[in-house]
Structures are given as C-alpha cells and as structure tokens.
C-alpha cells in the first residue's frame, strides 16, 4: 500500500511538470505581449515594465524563474489587478469555491446512492423508468441551462431563495448553486449505482445470503452496499473534475466570488498570469484529488490490495 502510494505520488510529479510547462509555453507563444494595448508607451517605460515582469529575459530563464515561484506557491503578479498577486487572489477565493464544490459533491453522492438504490430495488417498474429518464435529463441538460431556469422559478417568481450569492445570507444562498452544480453528478451517480447494485444483487454470494433467509435490508446493509459503492469511488475523480468545471459557470451565474469567477474574468480581460496560475492550480488540485481517490479505491477494494 505504502509502495503504491509512493509510486503514484512520484508518477504525479512529471504530469504536473508537463502541465506547467505546456501552460507556460502556450501563454508565451501568444502573438503580442500582455502590454500591447492601444496606448503607446514611451520606450523607457515599456522597458521598465518588461524588466519588472522579467519579460526581457530569454524564455528558458523565465520558465525556470516561474517554476521556482510555483514551487514556493508564488504565481507572480496579476497583470490586471496590479495591487494583488495571483496567489493572493487564489487563496482568497478558494475557500468559497471549495465549500460550494464539497457541498455539491456530498449532495450528489448521497442522493445519487439513494435514487440509484430505489431504482435498483424497483427494477423495470414505472419508478425505475421514471428515475432513469430523469437521470438522463440531468446528465444531458447543461448546468448553465438548469441554473438560470431555477433562478427564474425559485428566486424571481416564487421568491423562496435569493437569486444571487451576495443577495442572501446564511445557508439559503448556497441552496440553488449547490443544487445546480450537484444535479448532473447526482444523475450520473444514480445511474452508476443502479447498475452496480443490480450486478451485485445478481451475484452468487447474495443468492446464498438470500437462501439463508436474510432480509433484503440486512443483505443490502451488510453484503451488497460496500461492493456496489466501489464503482462510485472510481467515478469520484471525473466527478471532481466535472464539479470544478461546473463551478466556473455556477459562480458566474450566481455571482459567487470564487476561483471560477476570477478565471472567467481573467480570461475575458486577458490577464495572462492570473489565467496561467489558475490553470496550474486547477490541474494540481485535480491531480492531487485523483491521487487521493486512487488511494481510497485501493484501500477499499481488497482485490486490488492483494496484488
């Protein structure tokens, strides 16, 4: 287990390095620099700006400098928010994004398991078909369609919940964003859990348990639940990536001051360092969380542990 963990961590390092290198090269392959604005600068001013941002150095040297910075958690200054560093922006906006994502993932997982279980136990009944149809709808319809429609319905017309994050206080302002973000993953988890539960329930050892007269509740709780949950654990990685991507849109719609909003604004304002820093941060986050998911899976599934 320890050896596996170490190998996986070592394997993640080159991946991260490639991510940083590719992102850095992309930004620096850009036609025109970040300060090519309509304003014509004095040559001396331009020179001093280039020097201040180290843009006058050769590219490999710039990359080495950037890499050293990243390792210290320093992503350099932001091009458009001259008073903030990219790291400061990231660390200030990360907590709210993290909360949003964590709530969404927990909601998706618990409700997904619940609905998947109901569908599996009522297989091929009207309830099952209804849930399957709903799941497909949830998977197909994008967050940026569901979220505004929910705002229109629950905030504008019914007035139950605040339409924007800053317009509310307490837990209420999290409700709509979390639901919007959770729905597609909820649908996916439900489908996945239905399929894996059905497969487990058809296996021989469950038939044995049933033959011994165990009740359905007891069979599910003690024998079927854990193995049926395993495919969900392996889907956690993609789910985390999807929630992170979705949060970019959800934060935009609800005006939540998180990472995603800075990312989009940075992208629209062509704030190269901010976008570069956030891409690397997102990648590092996804790679790290995937690592944890892998280890968790390894820990939970005795078959992979023995190898």
């Amino acid at each position: 287990m320890l050896r596996f963990a170490l190998l996986r961590i070592l394997g993640a390092i080159p991946t991260l390095f490639v991510v940083i290198a590719v992102a850095f090269m992309l930004v620096h392959a850009a036609p025109g620099g970040p300060f090519d604005s309509e304003r014509v600068l004095l040559p001396e001013v331009e020179q001093s700006i280039l020097q201040a941002y180290h843009l006058d150095e050769p590219l490999p040297q710039q990359f080495a400098r950037y890499l050293r910075g990243v390792l210290r958690g320093d992503f350099g200054p932001s091009y458009t928010h001259s008073e903030y560093d990219v790291s400061e922006i990231i660390f200030a906006s990360f907590p709210v994004s993290f909360l949003l994502g964590a709530y969404a993932l927990i909601t998706a997982l618990t409700l997904g398991v619940f609905f998947g279980l109901v569908a599996a136990l009522r297989r091929n009944t009207a309830i099952d078909h209804l849930l399957s149809g709903l799941a497909m709808t949830g998977i197909s319809i994008p967050v940026f369609v569901i979220a505004p429609v929910m705002v229109l319905l629950f905030a504008v017309h019914l007035g139950w919940l605040p339409a924007s994050f800053s317009g509310g206080t307490g837990a209420g302002r999290f409700v709509l964003p979390v639901i919007a973000l959770a729905l597609p993953q909820l649908a996916y988890f439900a489908r996945l859990f239905r399929a894996s539960m059905i497969e487990v329930l058809e296996s021989d050892y469950i038939r044995t348990a049933r033959a011994q007269g165990l009740s359905t509740v007891s069979i599910i709780r003690h024998h079927a639940l854990k193995p049926a949950l395993l495919p969900l654990v392996s889907y956690l990685g993609p789910a985390i990536a999807a929630v992170l991507t979705g949060s970019v849109v959800v934060e935009q719609i609800f005006g939540i001051p998180g990472l995603g909003q800075h990312f989009v604004n940075g992208a629209l304002n062509r704030d190269y360092t901010l976008v570069l820093g956030l891409v690397i941060f997102y990648a590092a986050l996804i790679i790290t969380l995937n690592l944890f998911v892998d280890l968790l899976y390894r820990y939970l599934d005795p078959r992979t542990r023995r190898q």
Binding site: P31, I141, V151
Partner: protein, 285 residues
C-alpha cells in the same frame, strides 16, 4: 446484427429502440427546421430595430419567439445558433474521430511496448482539466471557429481511442489480416484498408456519444463569452444573452435553452440506444 439484448430485458430494449427512433426524428426535425427556417423567415439574424425590442413571443405578431434587447428576431437567431452549434459539433467530432481512430488503431495493432506507452499516456490525459487548457488557448490566440473546432476536437478523442484500440486488438487476430500481411501489405495499409473499415459500427456509436459532449463544451465556452463571437451566434451564446435578460424577457432564455436541452437529450438517448445495440457488453443498463 445479432438480436441485441437477447431475452434478458426485451421490454426495456423495445422501449429504448422506440425512444431512439423518436430522438432521431426530433433531431432531424430540428436540423431541417434550422435550415429551412432561416431561409424562409423574413427576418435576418443581425438586423437591429430598437423600436421592436423586448417583444414577447406571438404567433400573430410575426416574431414567433419574440425579440431580444436589440429588437432582433429570436426565432431566426435561435435557428441560426442551432446551425452553428451543429456545425461545430460535426466538424469537431470529425477532428476527434480522426485522432481517436488513428491513435487507437496504431496502439492496438502494434501492441506490446508501443501500446503500453500510448495507453499510459491516455490514462494520464484523462486526469487533465482540458477545459481549462482550451480556455487558456482562447485567451492567448484570436478566437475563431477554426481554433474551436481543433481545440474541442483535440481533447475529446480519449474514449474513442480506447474503444478503437480494444476492437483493433480483436480484429488483428482475424484471418483476413494474416492474409493481407502474408501477401506483403504494409502495416499502415492494413490499418487503413482492413482494420479501419471494420471499426465502423463501434465508431458510429462513439460518434453519437461524442457529439453531445462537444455541443456541451462549445456552449459552455460560448456561454462564458469565450466561444462563438458576435455577429455569429450559437445556442450557448444565446442562452448567455438570455440569462442576462431573463427577468425582463424570459423568452430570450427559454427558447434557446429548450433547443439546446432537447438536442442534447436526444443525442444522449440516441447514443445510449445505439450502444445497447452495437456494443451490449459496455451498456451501463
């Protein structure tokens, strides 16, 4: 084809197939409507008339879907957006198809170390937050449709590559491949002429599953303002405009959003149904 789901879930299979037919017809209807409607309508996509802005949808008044904040006819704009969305989806899918099939066929055909390295790379790529890289591309370079085709297509080939590889491995053991090799056909000619055509069925399935992903992706970018730019429009861009005006003019959100939702739903049902038929083993029930 053999009987698809055997006798295990006949009712479900029939229901699925009926759904597939309905979805296929709905998609065809949307495609035809988007072409015929834009030609037949008296309004243009870009024509601005401020005296007619925010008109609600009405069948008698001429603007079936109403007008937007600049008085542009929403019916024509929605159909035009649908066209662009379809166009991007088809071209980007072709890009992803070419990459995925080539990559998967080479890995599967040559096997051994080449295969191991190529598939390890695919595994690593699965963990990449590609969306963020595409956004980075959109920031760095001039935003253009061509860049979108390539960027979106270039990141959606992983599933196709995996499936094609698996299929190629089983194909290359067949007698006709041995025969071709024996008469001296080169490896690449075997892949192009003997392996690739046999991948058609499975590839069609994954194409139908890739298209909705690509549509989702394109509309995601356009929604954020990083995709299709004015004066061109796509469903994602229209939904984005609709969101900013939804309290004043909810129809600006609802019409494009419904088109997008129906298209994605139908494509997903279609892909799922086809997979059940062509590839029963990987069907997720």
């Amino acid at each position: 084809m053999k009987t698809s789901s055997g006798n295990r879930r006949p009712r479900y299979a029939i229901l699925g197939n009926r759904l597939v037919v309905v979805c296929l017809l709905a998609l065809l209807a949307i495609a035809v409507l988007s072409i015929v409607g834009t030609i037949a309508s008296p309004y243009s996509v870009e024509e601005i008339s401020f005296d007619q802005n925010f008109e609600g949808p009405s069948l008698g008044g001429g603007h079936w879907f109403g007008t937007d904040d600049l008085g542009r006819d929403l019916f024509v704009r929605t159909l035009k957006g649908t066209q662009i969305t379809f166009l991007i989806a088809i071209v980007a899918t072709m890009v992803s198809l070419v990459i995925g099939v080539t990559y998967g066929a080479i890995a599967g055909y040559f096997g051994g170390k080449i295969d191991a390295i190529m598939m390890r790379a695919v595994d690593a790529l699965y963990a990449m937050p590609f969306i963020f890289f595409v956004i980075l591309l959109m920031v760095v370079f001039e935003r253009s449709l061509t860049l979108m085709f390539i960027a979106i297509g270039a990141i959606n080939w992983l599933d196709t590559a995996r499936i094609v590889r698996g299929q190629t491995i089983s194909l290359k053991q067949r007698a006709f491949v041995d025969a071709a090799r024996m008469v001296g056909v080169s490896n690449f000619a075997i892949i192009a002429r003997h392996i690739a055509p046999n991948l058609l069925g499975i590839v069609i399935v994954y194409v139908t599953l890739t298209i909705p992903q690509i549509i989702l992706f394109e509309s995601f970018l356009s929604f954020l303002g990083l995709g299709v730019q004015e004066p061109q429009t796509s469903l994602g861009a229209l939904v984005s405009e609709g969101v900013s005006r939804m309290e004043r003019a909810p129809w600006m959100l609802l019409f494009p959003a419904s088109f997008l939702a129906v298209m994605l739903l139908c494509l997903n049902f279609l892909g799922d149904g086809l997979r059940d038929v062509f590839d029963p083993k990987s069907a997720k029930a």
